[in-house]
């Protein structure tokens, strides 16, 4: 499928370029714009970005693959990232991973069959004092208990 920025997002590009002395430096902000629009970054989108940055498509691919937050395939509607770093584990993160698996029906690294959830485990999200915690899309959920998790998942649309 061909990729195209929406009019609104296309209009943001000049402002992004104006922040940097080189076109290439706009790479991450523009990739974020793609992911915000599509939920992931396709090969076609990378080609469009490469053209905007005046780079070879390979230069964009190597960047996309380096960063863990850029999705190279569509994930579920809600991306749930449970921290299972050492510090979170000290405060009981292990039950959280198991619990979220059970509640969403996803294994780690998988999307639920209805496409609503995608589950990942991640390393430290700078929330060690309020562990156990998870990030869903752009938001942090901290000091979690099973009851809180139930409510959070229920409230997601």
């Amino acid at each position: 499928m061909k990729f195209q920025f929406t009019k609104e997002r296309e209009a943001k590009l000049p402002n992004i370029f104006a922040k940097y002395p080189t076109k290439r430096a706009a790479m991450l902000p523009i990739l974020w714009l793609v992911q915000e629009q599509e939920g992931w970054i396709s090969e076609e989108a990378m080609q469009v970005v490469a053209a905007k940055l005046e780079l070879a498509p390979g230069a964009v691919q190597e960047v996309v693959s380096f960063y863990t937050m850029f999705n190279r395939k569509p994930l579920g509607q809600h991306h749930i990232q449970v921290c299972n770093n050492f510090c979170c584990r000290l405060r009981g993160a292990d039950w959280l991973v198991d619990y979220v698996k059970q509640k969403t029906g996803c294994k780690v690294g998988e999307t639920s069959s209805d496409g609503r959830f995608h589950l990942s485990t991640v390393e430290c999200l700078a929330s060690c004092g309020t562990a156990p915690m998870m990030q869903i899309n752009n938001d942090y959920y901290e000091n979690l208990t099973p009851e809180k998790v139930d409510k959070i998942l229920k409230d997601l649309t």
């Binding site: 991450l28 937050m69 700078a126």
Partner: protein, 429 residues
């Protein structure tokens, strides 16, 4: 805890400019612009402020390395990548007082002769980034950012930039590679960023907390800042405390505060079980036993004497329910996952360490494993492009040194002797 950094962190709606101004935000700017940039650098040198990102390099000295005559632009880059396990103190400042950071950026940029500052946020800090953008917009509308700030003839643009998930991008040269639009690969130093950094121009990279201390120094002078702390470790420092502790959180204390009273008075002690070990400065620094840490004061020299580093101030409290081998295996997993892979000793060393520690913990270790781990640590330390590899070498050496018998017990018994007390079983108890 009313000191330099967190004075207004409990104020409701502090991120709004109007509220911030009522609490004294931007009050340092009159004093700032009344003085020459080089005098501000001198003031920061006098203050004794050291970088709060981990390495503790004297800030004023770093600023004085910037060549002023190259004809190239000079950049200030603020490191808001905060990804070191156990560390969540920059986030505290970003969420509660973004105008303090902006005020610090104006002062630091003015001092080093920069007209463009970038703040590099870790990708996960979406809300913090959004809040900062909003604060910048308000400050810009009020004439605090942009052309001819407060009519003083000084121009400054501040741009917020988001990373996309990679621990290594907190290392300053990796951060610059990432900001330039590439993979986050660290670069060989020299050249140091102060000489040749972002877009091959002179660049100062400073941590969020470091920059947030600057407005106070401008207002009260370097000597005023020295009222806090010790001779060699002046000022205050944030510690983010986590793990088996009654009151986890972020605390600002004068450097030189005894750990023992800090732990009791601020943190409320452990959750009830005996203290086993403390990592005082983020996952990368050597661990200390309970006995070692109890006699230590929280400052750079005392940390060194105790055999560790203050690092980022990410303090991890570990009680006696934790198995040392499993703890180290968990830490190794992080480093194996986050190595950027450029240097063989780091890529291979972190991966092997994790494998060996996993088999030791599972009771399938081999007799030579302990010495193999120490050998791997020696191979990783100091032989790589950046100090990431040392950040696992130090924990390996220190955990084995502090808790060697536990490692030996795993070999002898062919199982984890603390099965009942491992991380896995605490959570179900």
């Amino acid at each position: 805890m009313t000191f330099v950094l967190t004075k207004n962190c409990e104020v409701q709606n502090m991120p709004q400019l109007e509220v911030a101004r009522k609490h004294g935000a931007y009050a340092s700017l009159e004093k700032l612009f009344a003085r020459q940039p080089k005098d501000i650098i001198e003031e920061v040198k006098t203050s004794g402020l050291r970088g709060r990102g981990g390495a503790g390099f004297p800030t004023g000295m770093k600023w004085s390395f910037v060549p002023q005559n190259t004809g190239k632009p000079i950049y200030l880059v603020v490191n808001a990548d905060e990804s070191e396990p156990g560390t969540f103190k920059d986030r505290f400042l970003l969420e509660r007082d973004p105008h303090l950071l902006i005020e610090g950026i104006i002062a630091a940029s003015y001092a080093i002769g920069s007209h463009t500052a970038y703040v590099y946020f870790r990708g996960e800090f979406y809300r913090q980034w959004e809040l900062f953008e909003k604060a910048c917009a308000e400050a810009r509308a009020a004439g605090l950012i942009g052309k001819n700030i407060l009519g003083k003839g000084y121009d400054l643009e501040i741009y917020a930039h988001r990373g996309a998930g990679a621990y290594i991008c907190g290392e300053e040269t990796a951060l610059l590679s990432s900001l330039e639009g590439g993979r986050g690969y660290p670069r060989i130093k020299p050249p140091f960023p102060a000489i040749e950094g972002l877009f091959a121009c002179p660049t100062i990279v400073n941590n969020v907390e470091t920059i947030c201390a600057v407005p106070y120094i401008v207002r009260e002078g370097g000597a005023g800042y020295r009222k806090f702390g010790t001779e060699k470790s002046s000022g205050t420092k944030l510690f983010s405390v986590c793990g088996h502790v009654k009151k986890p959180g972020v605390y600002e204390v004068p450097l030189g505060t005894p750990f023992k009273s800090f732990f009791k008075d601020y943190c409320g002690g452990t959750n009830g079980r005996p203290l086993k070990a403390v990592i005082v400065g983020g996952s990368s620094v050597p661990v200390l036993t309970a006995e070692q840490v109890m006699t230590m004061t929280l400052d750079y020299e005392a940390a060194q004497i105790a055999g560790t580093l203050l690092g980022s101030g990410g303090m991890i409290i570990v009680d006696d329910s934790v198995c040392a081998v499993e703890a180290l295996a968990d830490l190794a997993r992080f480093y194996a996952h986050e190595s950027c892979g450029q240097c063989t000793p780091c890529r291979e060393g972190t991966g092997w360490s994790k494998k060996i520690l996993d088999r030791l913990e599972a009771g399938r270790g081999e007799d030579s494993d302990i010495s193999l781990l120490l050998q791997l640590a020696d191979n990783m330390g100091g032989k790589t492009i950046c100090t990431f590899a040392d950040a696992l070498a130090m924990p390996i050496r220190s955990w084995i040194k502090c808790f060697r018998t536990e490692f030996e017990d795993h070999l002898r018994l062919k199982t984890c002797p603390m099965k009942i007390g491992t991380l896995n079983s605490i959570r179900s108890s």
